[in-house]
Amino acid sequence: MARRQQAREIVVALVGNPNSGKTTVFNELTGSHQHVGNWPGVTVECKEGTVRRDGYVFRIVDLPGIYSLSPSSQEQIIARDFLIENHVDVIVNVVDAANLERNLYLTTQLLELGIGMVVALNMVDMAEKLGWKIDTDKFAAFLGVEVVPTCASRGEGIEDILVKARQAAECAVCDPPRSTRHHPEIETELAKLAERLQLKAGSAAFVRWMLIKSIEGDSAARKRLVDCSPHGIRALDEVDRTRKHLEQIFGDDIEAVIANGRYGFIGGLLRETVKYTQPINKRTVTDRIDDILLHRVLGIPIFLVLMWLTFKLTFDVGDTAKQWLEAGVAALGAWAAELLPKGPLASLVVDGIIAGVGGVVVFLPNIIVLFTIISLLEDSGYMARAAFLMDRSMHALGLHGKSFIPMLMGFGCNVPAVMATRTLETREDRLLTILVTPLMSCSARLPIYVLFAGAFFPTRGALVILSLYVFGVLLAAISGKLLRKLVFSKAASPFVMELPPYRLPTLKGMAIHVWERSSLFLTKAGTLILAAAIIIWALGALPWGVELGSEHSLVGYVGRALQPLVRPLGLDWKAAVALVFGAGAKEIVVSTLGVLYSTHENTEGLSAALRQAFTPLTAFVFMVISLIYIPCVATIAAIRRETNSWRWTIFAIAYSLSLAYTMGLAIYRIGLLLGLK
């Protein structure tokens, strides 16, 4: 019997700036052996993957792209916490060779941690094209770590990374990487502090890191310091005294001094190791493209055209595929109905499960197309330009430049729109956009408008429908400002954002990205939607024997129970029932009304029946309510997935319900006062 060999595990933390090609490196390293989750309790995603080589198992954790280890954003806090709380064998720092100065700022901080490290000098081909010659050996000697030139998009250097990472992991204890030297005054003070505080922590390097960060005011480092010092909380007094002393000497606050120190070190490093064969400020291809894409006059029109294209592709191409899927699901349902004996089981399978699954799967084409496009826009670098163009108008609404795309997509379907909020960088921006996007009237609501507008405003139907769309946008704008003030009143996070050089996205990267999104949707959102579909079916089919969704079913009782609630809005229980079903999917509202008024597919008949039951005023109220009241179950599931919190999902539901009720009430009452009917 062969003895199974225990592979040795090496934990690798992949760290680097956004746009440094870190994701490509991760994809190259792990291929399909990766999985995506969420860091607990937050909306930031966590990616992990494994690679096996020579009896070792590399567990690679892709930390979010960050510029620094200071706690100025959630991503940075997560990365910092991971590095100091968890056991990490080696850090692989992905550095963009064409953008060294800023990338190395993070590197200097990582070096201070005292963990074994390998620098992957990525995109060396770009650097060469810009005319820069980097002496890799000198570079490595200066930093005190191994440096691996890579070109991740071509897969070059990847194996080397693994080799060097293993070496670094194995001898991290014996040979910690050299730390950046700060100004002599600072170094002296640090040494004095270390002695005075008698800190007990992992390595000398880590102690130093704790001191530097504590002086800078990093609360996690300070907490650690208190734990590691016999003086306990009084250690912090010493730290603060040192800080004040240093500030007096330098005449500037300590963050600036240390930041300058780091950049000084980087400057020295670059002077020694990089030769510039072309003038620094030569205009690049990116600059020239931006002259057009960000042109004062042409920029926004070009953007709008691209958005229109995105919309068309997503919903036209997507919808054609959608129709096939729907047909497929219907065929499946019909086949199952034939196969199974008539009865509760058949109904459950056909109207419940198959319809439910169909309801999930039907969003896939839209999601796949949209995320292919988004992936293209992001990886190429255009997304940042879009945010740049739109920010002023979005910011006035309390949103972020990047909020534009999800909101625009909302006009087609809220589900991919909510998922598209992933491109927003901060939690507040993401949440706010998610709350506001469902107010963009999706295409599923259109049949409702067409029906009612056709029945009650035959001459001015188009105008009425347009007014609903505009109303939705206005509400979104007001909600944005209001929610920003009341709920997200913490000072808006900085917009300060890099405009990365344009790059050609890799097909592999795009494919992985789209696959991730789609499978996440299927698993996370899908289960919720399916569950909800079955519940709704149950409500409509029980007690057994009633016609599906009629007034004698459970839903009917629910509707009747809701009658007193909707009376003040001028609506009756049938409207309430239809609305309840609309929570499942907005398309169902019309067919439900058909069942309730017993006209089924007969639109003429339905219009006539509606004219008996509603007035133009109440018809308008109904339309407004269906615009606002609750996102469909699929959207709710998407919201749950993206916010990673039931609290916010429930808040979103509560917000739209109360907004709908208030608006409906207001319009009805004001309408009556004005003598309208």
Binding site: Y67, S68, S70, S72, S73, N99, L100, E101, R102, Y105, K244, E247, Q248, I249, F250, G251, D252, D253, E255, A256, A259, N260, Y263, G267, L270, R271, Y276, P279, I280, N281, T286, D287, D290, L294, H295, R296, V297, G299, I300, A384, F388, L389, D391, R392, S393, H395, A491, S493, P494, F495, V496, M497, E498, L499, P500, P501
Partner: protein
């Protein structure tokens, strides 16, 4: 008004300031631009330019733009700084409206001695440190004037220190006249100071916006905000409300060697 050799008349100072402001905003100072800026006739401008040139403060060829010499630039900077310090006092401390402050600053800046101005500058900084709403004691201010530091136990012990920097030999004026948010595309310069608190400041510095860094304004978004700058070899965009915190010193062209690499 000072008339002796080496001292400038009020009128000459106004011209220097106008030329400097033009260069700050749009890099181009032709005779007709100066005339418009100062609301005088072109012949008046030509006469003044000739006078300034004879003092070695500007260079001008007929039909070409007016350029400041190194000397002229120094003077102009000082004048502009004085102006903005006085204006800051009028607006920030006394609460005047911008137009009024602008007008009165023009008058006051010529009337006071350099020493008085220095004290006024210090007072403005002192008030800045109060954060606008903290009570302060005049004695603390007087102490500061005399000793250059705050007395122990005063409310200011905890606040960030002044940017004096005389310890390391920098002789920069403590208030510069220009903020990053005021600049037009094409403006180049050096970051002087990053004010503000909290995440914005930290983020700016992490992205490389630190004192003494070279930058260039690339463009402004079509809707007027945000702006894009080139700094440390890459392109950075930021809102004007964030760029407001960044005080800069401009490199007026033809005195900075464009190819000199600050690396």
């Amino acid at each position: 008004m000072p008339e002796s050799e080496g001292e400038l008349t009020r009128s000459m100072e106004d011209y220097l300031e106008a030329i400097y402001n033009l260069k700050v905003r749009s890099q181009v100072a032709r005779v007709k631009d100066i005339a418009r800026e100062m609301k005088v006739t072109m012949p008046s401008v030509t006469g003044a330019i000739r006078l300034l040139a004879s003092r070695g403060l500007v260079k001008h060829q007929p039909y070409e733009t007016v350029e400041l010499t190194d000397d002229g630039l120094n003077h102009a900077r000082n004048i502009a700084h004085r102006h903005s310090a006085v204006k800051e006092f009028l607006m920030g401390t006394l609460g005047l409206k911008e137009e009024d402050a602008e007008r009165e600053a023009c008058g006051i800046e010529h009337a006071i001695k350099p020493e008085t101005l220095e004290k006024l500058l210090k007072f403005v900084e002192f008030v800045r440190h109060c954060g606008g709403n903290q009570p302060f004691r005049l004695d603390d201010f007087r102490y500061y004037l005399e000793h250059g530091t705050y007395p122990a136990g005063s409310a200011f012990e905890k606040s960030p220190p002044h940017r004096n920097r005389h310890r390391f030999g920098y002789e920069k004026p403590t208030i510069t006249s220009t903020r990053l948010s005021d600049l037009e595309p094409g403006a180049k310069g050096r970051i002087a100071f990053v004010s503000g608190v909290g995440p914005v400041r930290q983020r700016l510095m992490e992205m490389g916006v630190t004192p003494d860094t070279l930058f260039e304004v690339v463009r402004v978004a079509p809707l007027g905000d945000p702006i894009e700058i080139k700094i440390r070899g890459y392109n950075l965009s930021l809102r004007k409300s964030e760029a407001q915190h960044v005080e800069v010193e401009l490199q007026v062209p033809a005195w900075q060697d464009d190819n000199k690499q600050e690396k």
